[in-house]
């Protein structure tokens, strides 16, 4: 089975890649979209004062 990898996906905010698997006939067998990043805002915002959170989470996406 042949694999085509599109890496990185461009012109958007964030990291992403696409793996396309082709069968023997050259048709698409399956496609996997991968997000190869995590920063952990869910965790590191815990314990921060509420008034600081808007300044922190505005850095989830700056686009």
């Amino acid at each position: 089975m042949r694999k085509i990898t599109i890496d990185p996906i461009t012109r958007l905010e964030g990291h992403g890649k696409i793996n396309i698997f082709l069968n023997d006939a050259g048709g698409v067998e399956n496609v996997y979209f991968a997000i190869p990043e995590l920063r952990g805002f869910e965790k590191f915002c815990e314990g921060r004062p509420a008034d600081q959170v808007p300044q922190i989470v505005s850095r989830i996406c700056g686009v």
């Binding site: 905010e13 920063r39 952990g40 850095r59």
Partner: protein, 317 residues
């Protein structure tokens, strides 16, 4: 002489630095006249395979935003280093870890548990965690390794220049672009697009005696628009933060949170700021000083907001 070749890339970042570059607005046309952009994922469709195919040193200047959070960030940083003559650590994340660096207060296992098991919007009954290589029926797929710690760019590659800010202001970016295009960059190792003095030096607020009896959270006080925010009892990082942002926050009655990073020579911004705070507390009694300082909530998260991985502390245990 051939046209300059520029690259811009993000590691662990939010894209705000890229948008700050785009916020030079119509001057982007002048930039395009002076330089070819040969890699810039947010705006231009080049792939990693294109980057790999470039000769070593093909790129004149690379602006690298974002921290080093995972193995992909490190791999591409090293690849860009190999392909670039000049590397600029661009923005707080690349220089000192930035907001993603707050993750160094937490453990990798706890971040994974929160993100993949415990968030209210997550359904993961099988308790599946990401693995770097995954065998699917059609073949193998892979993702980068999430490191134990967030690192700064200079922890993994050599860096020529540092451009601070979260994000750097567009005015400063244009100044630095002009310096690059005209070949007037300062000596290697310099900070660019900023000043080598504290934010307080560029702040127009009236400063008198710093005698603080109580620290306030923003909602607990009506801010006087003319006098020093720190003197009013707001936790303002101005005394230890590099100037160059145009005083955007203090100009809007908001204390400086330190995004332009520590001044030259400061090894640990948190320790430096604790010293600054101690000097403004108005008491001779250690007990009262303790009480006044205890008004400051989450001191570590506040003082190291943008700089934990780049500080002496580096991470919490």
């Amino acid at each position: 002489m051939s046209k300059l070749k520029l690259a811009s890339y993000w590691g662990s970042a939010c894209g705000g630095c890229d948008v700050a570059i785009l916020d030079i607005h119509e001057k982007i046309v002048d930039l395009a006249n002076a330089a070819d952009i040969v890699f810039w994922p947010i705006a231009v469709d080049f792939k990693y395979s294109d980057l790999e195919a470039y000769e070593d040193g093909y790129i004149d200047v690379c602006l690298f935003h974002g921290a080093v959070r995972n193995s992909e960030n490190e791999h591409i940083a090293k690849l860009l280093r190999q392909k670039s003559k000049v590397m600029v650590a661009f923005g707080a994340c690349a220089i000192t870890g930035g907001i993603p660096g707050l993750a160094n207060f937490k453990k990798k296992e706890d971040i994974f548990a929160r993100a993949y098991f415990d968030t209210p919007s997550t359904q993961n009954k099988g308790k599946v965690l990401p693995t770097t290589v995954l065998q699917m029926p059609e073949g193998e797929i892979d993702i980068p390794e999430f490191y134990k710690d967030v690192k700064c760019l200079a922890d993994v590659i050599d860096v020529e220049f540092y451009m601070p800010g979260c994000p750097p202001t567009s005015e400063q970016i244009w100044n630095v672009v002009l310096a690059i295009v005209t070949g007037q960059l300062p000596p290697v190792g310099s900070f660019v697009g900023c000043e080598d003095r504290a934010l307080c030096n560029t702040c127009g607020r009236t400063k008198t005696d710093k005698k603080v009896k109580k620290f306030y959270r923003p909602h607990e006080i009506l801010v006087d628009p003319d006098s020093c925010l720190l003197e009013q009892g707001l936790v303002c990082m101005g005394p230890v933060t590099r100037a160059g942002c145009g005083n955007q926050c203090t100009g809007a009655n908001t204390p400086c949170s330190g995004c332009y990073g520590p001044l030259s020579g400061v090894v640990d911004v948190g320790a430096k700021f604790i010293g600054a705070l101690a000097s403004v507390v108005d008491t001779d009694s250690p007990e009262e000083a303790d009480k006044i300082i205890s008004d400051v909530l989450d001191p570590a998260g506040t003082f190291y907001r943008y700089a934990l991985p780049g500080s002496l502390l580096r991470r919490a245990k």
